[in-house]
């Protein structure tokens, strides 16, 4: 199910529980067909955001449009019919079989052709052969997949996945990653929360970093670029006599630092600056060992943000 306009629009949304702020002043948009990552440490407000957008809890202020419908009390059932949420814990009826669990939810969604939908959902998560197993007998990873099948039943316009791999072993986590990738290929709009950076980086088209407030939103590589000026890592055999004179006047070089291995230059465009730096070094009679762009992983961005936050809280 797709529509015109964004799948989710959130404007200055805030949720407080009494004195405690779960998240504040959060604004972003998610487009149809996009996999949107909501990244943040434990307690950042991810689950509360998902529950708010899923109409389970009411925001304290701000507004949102979910699957084309304004978020308010009257639209609750209609919004819930169009979206689905896979919560942090699968919450299956353990004394019921896989297919009995799905039948219950097919009924709750009033699906026509429940049988066909259940079969398709089970096939989508590679569980067709476990349909008659009791959920209580399944491993954690398989339960997570049943929960995913349940979330796919109503063919949601937006699929919210709340920490879909938390507590899974690496193999089960990879299977869930593969399932998400295949859903993405099918054009399903996914809102994925995670505290794991490599998960966000690997699976998402865009990532928002949340720690009560929204820190950054962007494509994974944009985030790196936006936070860090680019660096050139210059190594020479012996230290320069007057590095200030060599680097100072070069176009595109904004600053430099001496480090143990050589020099770290802040540049606006490494591709333009590198040849100029090389020429200047040659002109200064230095023996160049290497000139390389120093790349920052998204992890650096993330840790920097979280760090910033810790400092902010200490103040």
């Amino acid at each position: 199910m797709t529509g015109v306009g964004p799948a989710v629009v959130v404007e200055q949304l805030t949720k407080r529980f009494g004195e405690r702020t779960a998240f504040a002043d959060v604004s972003f948009e998610v487009g149809y067909g996009e996999v949107f990552g909501f990244l943040g440490p434990n307690g950042a407000g991810k689950t509360t955001t998902v529950r708010t957008l899923g109409t389970l809890i009411a925001p304290s202020s701000g507004s949102a449009v979910v699957a084309g419908m304004p978020l308010n009390a009257e639209n609750g059932p209609a919004i819930r019919a169009r979206i689905s949420i896979m919560p942090e814990s699968p919450g299956l009826y353990l004394r019921l079989t896989v297919v009995e669990n799905l039948q219950c939810f097919a009924g709750l969604y009033e699906l026509a052709d429940a049988r066909g939908r259940i079969e398709r959902a089970l096939r989508a998560v590679n569980l067709a052969d476990r349909a008659q197993d009791l959920c209580g007998s399944l491993s954690k990873g398989l339960r997570q997949r049943v929960a995913l099948a349940r979330a796919l039943l109503n063919d949601p316009a937006v699929l919210f996945l709340d920490e879909p791999t938390s507590g899974l072993d690496p193999v089960a986590a990879r299977e869930v990653h593969e399932l998400i990738t295949s859903l993405r290929a099918r054009g399903v709009t996914i809102f994925l929360t995670t505290h794991r950076l490599e998960e966000a980086e690997r699976l998402c088209d865009r990532v928002a970093i949340l720690n009560t407030t929204l820190r950054l939103v962007g494509k994974p590589d944009e985030l790196r670029e936006r936070l860090f000026t680019k660096k050139l890592d210059v190594r020479v055999r012996t230290p320069l006599d007057d590095p200030g004179q060599v680097f100072g006047a070069l176009p595109g070089v904004q600053g430099w630092d001496q480090v143990s291995s050589g020099y770290l230059l802040a540049v606006s465009d490494p591709d333009l600056a590198a040849p100029a730096v090389a020429r200047a070094l040659v002109g200064a009679d230095a023996d160049i060992l290497s000139i390389a762009e120093s790349r920052h992983s998204l992890e650096d961005v993330y840790l920097e943000l979280i760090d910033e936050d810790v400092e902010a809280r200490r103040r």
Partner: protein, 253 residues
Amino acid sequence: MTFSWTRVGAILRKELLDYRRNRFVIITMAVLPVVFVVLPMIQLFSVPASGAGSASVVKLDTRIGLSLLYMLLIPAIVPSTLAAYSVVGEREQGTLEPVLITPIRREEFLVGKALAAFIPTLVIAYTVFGVFLGAAALFAQRDVASAVFEGSHVLVQLLFTPLLAGWSIWVGIAISARSRDVRAAQQLGTLASLPPLVVVALMALNVITPSSGIALAFAAVLLVIDGFGWRAVAAMFDRERLVTGGTARPLDR
């Protein structure tokens, strides 16, 4: 969106499937009725042979009334434990949130839960009562049997079984929706199922002079409570609190 019986049915069916494999429920449904029918059975067969004096007839009638009253504990208590489990139990298992994420309305959820407690209770209570009546007809002394079947005993029993069950269910679900843990909910629910039974007891013991008028008035009151109970309970059903409240929260933030 209007009230959907499909969704009610989905909840009901799920509950009934779950009961089959739930040892606690099976024991509750099997043991309690047996407990509550043993005493009436003993009464049925331990009545001494007596003359036809009017005093002893009244006494016999009271004894039968008490036995039957005892059996009314089945519709009062069996559903109260089920109902008290219904909301807080799902919450503890973590299965409530996935349900509340669907388009279900709280009234649909509550009616499904109530029916899931009501239907098995009715089946069990009527079955046990049927067995009791059968035993009375076939094996009891003649004057005992006629005391069972004459008068309004059977009618009262048939009438009050669903009415008492309805009370227990709504009160139990209301308690369940506001409780933090299953145990407390079930203890409170069992207690709360008893007050209407006290009224029935007062009538059976002739403290309140039992007349068909009083019985009918009381039945009517229960009927109204049962019929509108879902509204009161729905008002107590707070989606947000049920989803977020009472779970462990990190304290370091």
